[in-house]
Amino acid sequence: MTRREFLDRLTSCLASLEDGERASMVEFYGEQIDDRMDDGMTEEQAVASLEQPEDIAANILSLRAEAQKSSGAADAGQTGAATAPGTAAMSGDARAAAPRREHRVLRGIGRAILGFCEVMLAIMLIPVALGAACALVAAYISLWTADICLLASSVCFVAFGALGIVSCFAAPVASGPVMVATIAFIVGALAMAVLAALATWFFGKLLVMLVVWCVRGIQKLLGRRKATRSASAGAAPQQSGAPAKEYPSMPLPPLTSADQKPATRRGMPVWGKFAVVSAILVVAAFFTGLGAMTTVGGPSQLLNLAGVSRELPQLDVDASTVDVIDLSLDEAMADVVYSVFVGVSSDDKIHVVGCSPAAAGWVYWSGMDEVNGVLDGTTLKLAMEQRDGRMVIQNPITLLNTLYVRQGESSVQVLVPQDWTGSIVCDGAGNIVTHAGTAVETRATGGEKAA
């Protein structure tokens, strides 16, 4: 038998011992063989001069079991004396008997105190553990709630996208940039829906895996305890003198072609590709929409459409006291408004309504709901101010091509050229005259007081 074989057999025979103790013992016997070989023996002779590994293990385990048995009856800290009564007698351990009895009493008291502390600690720990468990469950439920919110946001984005598609077909007025912005909105919303759906799936998967990991961890922990118990139970007969059983090494199954295949680096998963494409689409849609809206009125128009623009005073003025409506342009609105309606209602109130192509529909301001068949839509915020006793509408006039003035049941349609800059004077009696600029064509649209 070679040195290696001897030590391997010894190692397997001492399998019931702890790793450190077993390694120390194997190292000791390895050293004994080396010393014998240094003393002139061959390797085989050195190994043969020792006991068989099974006998060594049986002897060691027997002594160990005996020591443990003795330590149960006497002082564990004095294992040597306890395992060798002869030594106790010869080294005068009669003198140590009294202190040992004291130690036993002290140990009994210590154990009682320790037991009491364990009980108290358990009483205190139970509510803490229950609270911690409840907190963990609540946190887990919250995480699932967040996941459901992600799913809901995905559905909302899909709905927004569908709404955008409908608006594309339903909008009576839509310029090119507006259409581009709308399409960008649709694409962005759908891409965000995909992103949210992927996040929902990924987050949900993580939550499920979290539970699986926890369960596996608990199983592993329980399995390890069980194995420790089994090992302790299995070590008992060995400690009583029986040699440790040597288990034959099991041959490994041959490698399959799949095992022999070199590990290849896996590419990005499908969901990852979807996520990347969606993120790119979201960014692209954002900048495309932003650019398109900038061409038709800038970000302020977006704000206007979102209904978050500045609030303007309502143009409900007494027609008898206001004779001139000065329509001057505000560059910021030049691309937004392309027609404004001015009317005087039966209660002598002047109403102004504007519409914008960017709004994808009719837009009107003031509480007037019927001005030349104005449709519903988002409120258009027009800057109004009173200047020298006149109400001034600061709107682009260059794009105005139609102006309606109405009093009571009558109204006058004023056709304004694209490049017209001037004022329209209303005398409060329904008569309209051009105040400045080039002449405009007026046309009665109904009633008796057409200009």
């Binding site: 020792l50 006991e51 060691i60 004095q78 002869g86 030594t87 106790a88 080294s91």
Partner: protein
């Protein structure tokens, strides 16, 4: 010799073996085997026990390209050895008593 009695004296024998000079496992076996038959499987637990009790301490020295563990007796070990020697009178009395009883029986 009775196994229990042998165990008792082996501690003292091992301590005596390393009290002359620091020694290593194989040398201790050879030294102690001069008076009491001892094997490595008996020696190892004794060394461990004495080390745990502070009666000896270990150190390693490189020897032929490997580390060899040496054992050195401590003050506690010397005290134990002295205790064993001091109890010799008691041992003699026990021996005489046993011999006397044996002769009476004969």
């Amino acid at each position: 010799m009775d196994a229990q009695l042998k165990k008792g004296v082996l501690d003292a024998c091992v301590l005596a073996a390393i009290s002359k000079r620091d020694s290593y496992g194989y040398q201790i076996v050879k030294d102690v085997s001069g008076c009491v038959d001892v094997s490595e499987s008996t020696l190892y637990p004794i060394l461990k026990r004495l080390e745990a009790a502070g009666a000896l301490k270990t150190y390693s020295i490189e020897h032929n390209g490997r580390l060899r563990k040496y054992y050195r007796i401590t003050d506690e070990g010397i005290r134990r050895l002295n205790d064993f020697s001091d109890s010799w009178d008691e041992m003699v009395r026990i021996h005489d008593y046993i011999e006397e009883a044996r002769h009476d029986q004969a």
